[in-house]
Symmetry: C2
Subunit: 498 residues, 2 copies
């Protein structure tokens, strides 16, 4: 049975090629998609194909929810079509296009992207291309595996292209909570959200049918990357985090069932969830961006009773299992727009425990989440700033070394700063955990070097700080040797090791 039961929308059914033909050179296009789920599967490829066939320098500005997949960012970047892109991305072809200077990349906080579009800071939105799982008889749209910025793109765009993907379970209806209360200042009102599972919106996305110029049917899976089993380092970091949470409970600073968890994307995040699975914790909740395999496992075992997120990011096996019994997860998972999942107001109110990865931290606790050796971008800041700044408690985690020990993730001076000393509370490597709350920079350095740095680098870090302190009799707050501060990164660039 067709997923499109609305006569008006049915009348707009067409091919991906015809839909792609309506997108003009220079258009600003908002597409769905968040961490490899819920992105359009057909129109981007058709657009890439068209651009290749036409030759010339056809290009668009592309706005999404966050990272997408080879079928979106990948094909468009390979076709050289993406002139500008925001916010988070993680596709290898797109990353190359950014780092070689072909694509301008604007790395905004995920909670800022929708509102800044509304504020008019990015210019007019010409087209929206949004994947949904069904269109109801009255034209309402049932979202698919991510919500992201879809509400905003549908509201703002002059023209709308809808992809209806019946690979998604029809049971997605009822999983979403799309908040339609956002307004522009000075008309904004409080977000009356008190609990991860509380509904404050509608289960459906709305679209003005007049604006819909094409509807395309697809049957295609999400990206669904495999997760590796947690390695020793990930397990060690997860243990440090969970042990620390236990300690905070004993100190009366956290309730027995903790506070809502946020966990970034990746294997460490999954390892933390696995650690919870084997733990004594009960009645946990999550208010996060992305639901990965580990979080579904926690729901299955009953440890996790409520999850608010904006997207799934599952392995193929876990996605198949979820799709087969989606109905059973209803009432335990709620999927929101990213302006709500990442909203500073809600994150601060609920008191989130935020766990995010990092590339490197300096000895004073400034964190680099986005760049390699200062110049090249990896993925972007994503929601880590939204959560870290407003969390009750934040953790930044990374193995203490990379590239077989040739790179230390604890450095004298961060080659790029995404989270400042004012925002970073707890650093975690496989070596240990540094609780930086209420400490001055030099006190932080002591803990970071002792607890987090790899033993192979500890003496050199201590030597740096000792000499920096000696050289700056009137700069004892954050002693640095500016001529040497970035020398570890220079060493790596010149000699292949720090």
């Amino acid at each position: 049975m067709s997923r499109i039961t609305c006569p008006v929308m049915n009348s707009k059914l067409t091919t991906a090629e015809r839909a792609a033909a309506t997108i003009n050179d220079g258009d600003r296009v908002g597409m769905s998609g968040f961490t490899g789920s819920g992105y359009p599967k057909a129109v981007p490829a058709a657009l890439a194909e068209r651009a290749k066939n036409e030759g010339g320098d056809f290009g668009i500005e592309l706005l999404t929810g966050a990272s997408t997949a080879p079928e979106l960012d990948g094909v468009l970047a390979e076709a050289g079509v993406i002139r500008k892109r925001l916010p988070f991305q993680s596709d290898p072809a797109l990353r190359k296009s950014i780092n070689t200077g072909h694509t301008e990349y604007v790395d905004t906080h995920l909670s800022h992207s929708a509102q800044q579009a509304w504020f008019g800071f990015y210019g007019n939105l010409d087209v929206a291309v949004v994947e949904v799982s069904a269109v109801l008889p009255n034209g309402l749209l049932v979202p698919s595996s991510s919500v992201g910025n879809n509400k905003t793109w549908l509201d703002l765009a002059d023209k709308v292209i809808i992809e209806v993907n019946d690979w998604h379970p029809r049971a997605y209806e009822g999983f979403h909570d799309v908040y339609y209360g956002t307004k522009l200042p000075p008309e904004r009102r409080p977000i009356q959200l008190l609990d991860p599972l509380q509904r404050i919106g509608d289960p459906y996305l709305r679209v003005d049918p007049e604006k819909v110029i094409a509807v395309v049917e697809t049957h295609a899976p999400d990206r669904n990357l495999p997760f590796k089993d947690p390695d020793e380092n990930s397990k060690a970091m997860a243990e440090h985090v969970v042990d620390f949470l236990r300690f905070e409970i004993t100190q009366g600073r956290l309730p027995e069932n903790l506070l809502p968890l946020q966990s970034g994307v990746g294997n460490v995040a999954n390892a933390v969830m696995a650690e919870f699975a084997h733990s004594e914790f009960e009645n946990l909740t999550a208010y996060t961006e992305v639901i990965q395999d580990g979080m579904l496992d926690l729901i299955d075992t009953g440890k996790l009773t409520a999850v608010s997120a904006t997207a799934f990011s599952l392995s193929a096996e876990r996605a198949a299992a979820f799709n087969a019994k989606a109905e059973e997860y209803k009432g335990r998972i709620l999927m929101r727009t990213q302006e709500i999942s990442n909203h500073p107001e809600v994150i601060r109110r609920l008191g989130i425990i935020a766990i995010n990865g990092m590339v490197e931290a300096d000895i004073y606790g400034n964190v680099n989440s986005t760049h390699v050796m200062g110049s090249s971008i990896i993925n972007g800041i994503g929601g880590s700033g939204d959560f870290a700044r407003n969390a009750f408690l934040n953790f930044f985690v990374s193995p203490s070394t990379a590239k077989g020990g040739k790179i230390s993730s604890i450095v004298p001076f961060a080659s790029h700063v995404d989270h400042t000393e004012h925002d970073v509370q707890v650093l975690v490597t496989e070596q240990g955990l540094a609780d930086l709350r209420g400490l001055s920079p030099t006190a932080r350095a002591k803990k970071i070097i002792t607890n987090c740095a790899h033993p192979d680098y500890r003496d050199r870090l201590q030597d740096y700080i000792d000499r920096a302190a000696a050289a700056n009799p009137n700069g004892q707050h954050t002693p640095h040797l500016l001529a040497e501060a970035l020398s570890w990164h220079e060493n790596y660039q010149s000699h292949g090791h720090m």
Copy 2:
């Protein structure tokens, strides 16, 4: 007539010396005070005197609202009494104590200090020393010229010392709004504040009389530093800001009466207010931390109809004038706790226009607000992060050079980062304004160099970025030459000019 009309509190009247004697070595002490107003005037000096007389290494940890005055931070720092201090400070003696390594300084966001104390992240609060303007018969306290963290210190401290300062107008009663709805997660509720002048709390501070161990009477003015008339640079920067706001109105991105203004402390902020005074703008509002002379002028001329703040910071003349006719300002000024004046939830909801100073910005838009040449702290981040991150629109302003042109405030690489590229929207120097919204780092660099850098430094900045781009074929997102990135600061340290 005495300002203390409560018999219980009256019975605790004593001298500053006796009150100071109740503070023990190693105590964690929360004192009132925010930007040189509303700080205790007598007990800190008595404590400093006692420490000097006792000899030895008597010391305390000191928490305040923000910067205080010579009579608090100054005397205690000179006596060597402050082992640890948070959050914002600006006293020369205290700055020296921090930069020479005698005082540990913890530079937290102003919106974080109260809640992190509540969360237990700083340890137990032993004593509160809070200035008020009157004590009512029922024991309620009428705050004085700042609210800051006073509610939190009074609530958390084991012992409380009250200073009642009758230099403040008795008419302060009714100027304050102390929100008593804050709770710990998961019990937090929305802050139901929709408008700068809306009351959500009480006009009074509460204190458990059982905890009050001393009440001290004073009659002493606030710090009340003079403001200089705006110089040419400040005027130019103020014009750039106000012209830009005019442009945003023509683009439909701002209403005619703008959105609530926040303006940092200092002469540039005052110059912006002066610029508004001569402008066509009407019915302006402010939701800010500090009320300076310029803002009172705007109220007097009727241009500014509503101001929410947490403190005054006036010149002596303006303070005298205000005190003489305080009654007339009632209903136009409301003073809140700093956790509300700086609350991310409220700042984002109201859609603040935030204007803050900076020390330097790098070519990609990362801002240093706190450090000189990487190692020495100046004052601290204050509320600039609270406002910049959550504002509708933020400006960072600085003259393009310092030290007679020997320092450029636009540099290849910031020697400290307090506001990252993700948070900085508009940079302003006397040279011009760079609107960075929706731009990639390299596009930002072009605008910053062209519009904001001093002409004497433009070519060298452009040369740096050209060579950085050439050297990083796969690092075109944020091209840097790490060996040279901090060389401008090194030049200054070695040769006295960048």
